[in-house]
Amino acid sequence: MRVRMKVDGVTYEDEVQPRTLLTHHLRDGLGRVGTPIGCDTSSCGACTVDIDGESVKSCSVLAVQADGSTITTIQGLSGAENGDSSTWHPVQKAFQEHHGLQCGYCTPGMIMATVDLLKRNPSPSEDEVRHGLEGNLCRCTGYQNIVKAVLSAASELRGEGPLPGSFQDAPENDTAQTPAAETAGAPA
């Protein structure tokens, strides 16, 4: 069947089998491999993309069902394809600043789910962040830094600036770090 969809700003028209999952079409048909697949049971959320303004698990949608829709994946989020970190979306920046990832497998889905969450609730509590991301599993981080990253991105998107992150906490260069603490605690 012929399907037409706009993905990350580009319109594609392709022939797909009815059984082709949207994730497979994005990855194998369109070469947009930024969206990973983490499970067979619609549970992990790694494959989350935005379809017509709503977060969905792209492994649980047939490509034919997405005919005529507009899709944003992690690769189109910043509007730039060149990997230049200066153009990153505030949520992407916050995940880096707060170490919101380790292996990074869950990250595209976490970030897409976060963007959707913050669109609906710009000032979430920590509890609301945890519930808002309940459909996204991370096997590495233990979620603490993901929650921090999301709260920081929320603050930034509200125009209140990011929360202090791990990278920002660290002094500009290592030499500045050394003496203060140690001298203070050192025996006279």
Binding site: M1, Q17, P18, R19, T20, L21, H24, D40, T41, S42, S43, G45, T48, E54, S55, V56, K57, C59, S60, V61, L62, V64, Q65, A113, D116, L117, R130, H131, G132, E134, G135, N136
Partner: protein
């Protein structure tokens, strides 16, 4: 995994959908939000010849009023049910329970009708439909019929819909008078299915329970309406009386034993959660 091969049709009216389902024969299946069916296909647990996709049938979506009844289109997505002001006003138990279903991304695709037609006894919404005396409107080649919720759920994943029928809408009588509601869901992690869930709607008069309606999730192969407990609750005016009336809630039931819990633990949960849900709905905090 990649699902098995099937044909796909996407009708744009209910009449076309009924015709397409009839033409496709008995191994065809309806595709609603796909949040239960697509995982089943990916795991190759079903091999339908044709999928009839209802997602392009606008008349199956949305919430409206018909006098004292709320009418919810079968294809109304969980996320739309949660936010709908009519549902919040006239069937708040449904809003509350739907907000606990799965996670935001699944709620953006999964539908109210799909959840009922799927008839998983661990699903939260069947117990709510049962407790609220909902009626299910089915459309088939022979026309339209209305099925009371108590006659709809026959067994595990089995309903009284025939293979050539489509669930079109759900009719829920509005609660009138001083009703309170509560959905208590016990699960391991936020996104998980209920180990046991209890839907309660309670009407009070002068501080005592005048009427109670209860639906149990995952306490058998269908959702359960514990009529004897509902009757025993009438007149209860404090928490102790509620707890006493709810002690018999699991009697005669055969809840499943699985990785989530053994049957006796489910029976215990049902007693505790029913008392909690009823007391909360009746405004009895301690």
């Amino acid at each position: 995994m990649i699902p098995p091969e099937f044909d796909y049709v996407a009708p744009t009216t209910l009449a076309e959908a009924v015709a397409a389902l009839g033409e496709a024969g008995e191994d065809a299946k309806i595709l609603a939000g796909g949040q239960s069916l697509i995982p089943v296909l990916r795991l190759r647990l079903a091999f339908p010849t044709t999928l009839v996709d209802l997602s392009r049938v606008p008349e199956l979506r949305g919430v409206s009023e018909d006098a004292d009844t709320l009418v919810i289109g079968a294809m109304t997505k969980h996320s739309d049910v949660v936010e709908d002001p009519l549902v919040q006003q006239h069937a708040p138990l449904l809003s509350e329970a739907t907000a606990t279903v799965a996670d935001p991304a699944v709620r953006h695709r999964g539908t109210f009708g799909g959840a009922l037609a799927h008839a998983d006894p661990a699903g939260d919404l069947a117990a709510v439909a049962l407790a609220l005396d909902a009626e299910l409107v089915a459309e088939g080649p022979g026309g339209r019929r209305t099925i009371p919720a108590r006659d709809f759920f026959l067994d595990y994943l089995e309903t009284s819909l025939s293979p050539d029928e489509i669930l079109a809408a759900v009719r829920i009588p509005k609660l009138r008078g001083s009703w309170g509601v509560r959905y208590e869901k016990f699960n391991r992690v936020a996104q998980a299915w209920a180990i046991v869930g209890v839907a309660a709607a309670v009407r009070t008069e002068g501080g005592a329970i005048a009427e109670a309606r209860i639906g149990l999730t995952n306490m058998g192969s269908t959702p359960v309406r514990p009529a004897a407990v509902e009757a025993a609750l009438v007149g209860a005016s404090d928490r102790a009386a509620v707890v006493a009336a709810c002690a018999a809630v699991a009697e005669g039931l055969t809840p499943p034993s699985d990785l989530g819990a053994q049957a006796d633990y489910r029976a215990h949960l049902a007693r505790v959660l029913t008392a909690r849900a009823v007391a909360h709905a009746a405004g009895m905090s301690s």
